[in-house]
Symmetry: C2
Subunit: 158 residues, 2 copies
Amino acid sequence: MALKTFTALAVSASLLVTIGTPVLGELSREQQGAISARQAHMTLYGFNLAPLGAMAQGQMPYDAEVAAAAAANLAAVAGLNEDRYWLEGTDSSAGNNRAKAEIWSDPEGFAAEIENIAVTTAALAAVAGNGLDEMRAAFGPVGQSCGSCHESYRAPRN
Amino acid sequence: MALKTFTALAVSASLLVTIGTPVLGELSREQQGAISARQAHMTLYGFNLAPLGAMAQGQMPYDAEVAAAAAANLAAVAGLNEDRYWLEGTDSSAGNNRAKAEIWSDPEGFAAEIENIAVTTAALAAVAGNGLDEMRAAFGPVGQSCGSCHESYRAPRN
């Protein structure tokens, strides 16, 4: 029983520490809001990329209406003004997010990535309803844009 | 020590159950994704409503650039296609979300609310950079639209 009790206490303590210590406790309400908004923005990217990726890879039948709607959504989200997202002190070292410090040390490179996703998603939205081949061809650069930005500006999971 | 051990075990067990049982475990991946996307959409509403509300209420100085950007963002989010959000089986009884069953039993009323937020945010975006008075006048109907939809289609916190 001693080992079980110790294990239970240790598990309990570690869970309580995890739950009881807000990861974002050092951040202002504004900073927390910015991180949440960035993550919501990324959730909407993922939600709309999913059916397009599935169609492009043949895992789901092409549906012009669904493809057009998802691509229009992607372009709209990519077009959102991000000025209030990238507040100082909200990189991954602040906890609970994966924004690399390079976002702040290389603002021009980062701005180019943001411009790139806006351009590639707009190009995708222009053709996504025109059939699988056109959609797939325009989907590639969107995926490359995602990958390029994550490579440079998103920290690995820890 | 017996009581402490029992408490530790009980706390440990309850936390493990909480963590070990996904609230959305009965939902498909598609349903979970829809709920997450709806919540991300709402997070972006809140993030962009915040500075406009603070300016309208005099808690923050009016800033035309910030107001215009936030209002444009609101209108863009309100304009997103929501066809893939409102899947059957994703009301509040499915857990971890507050969508009332009325969304599905009263689709016309719900569609009217979605149209209303698109119309009111577009009107706000058209004037938000024109000064505090114009912004505030157009902000009112946006807030009313939020409230009206929540009243009818959002369940109370439980």
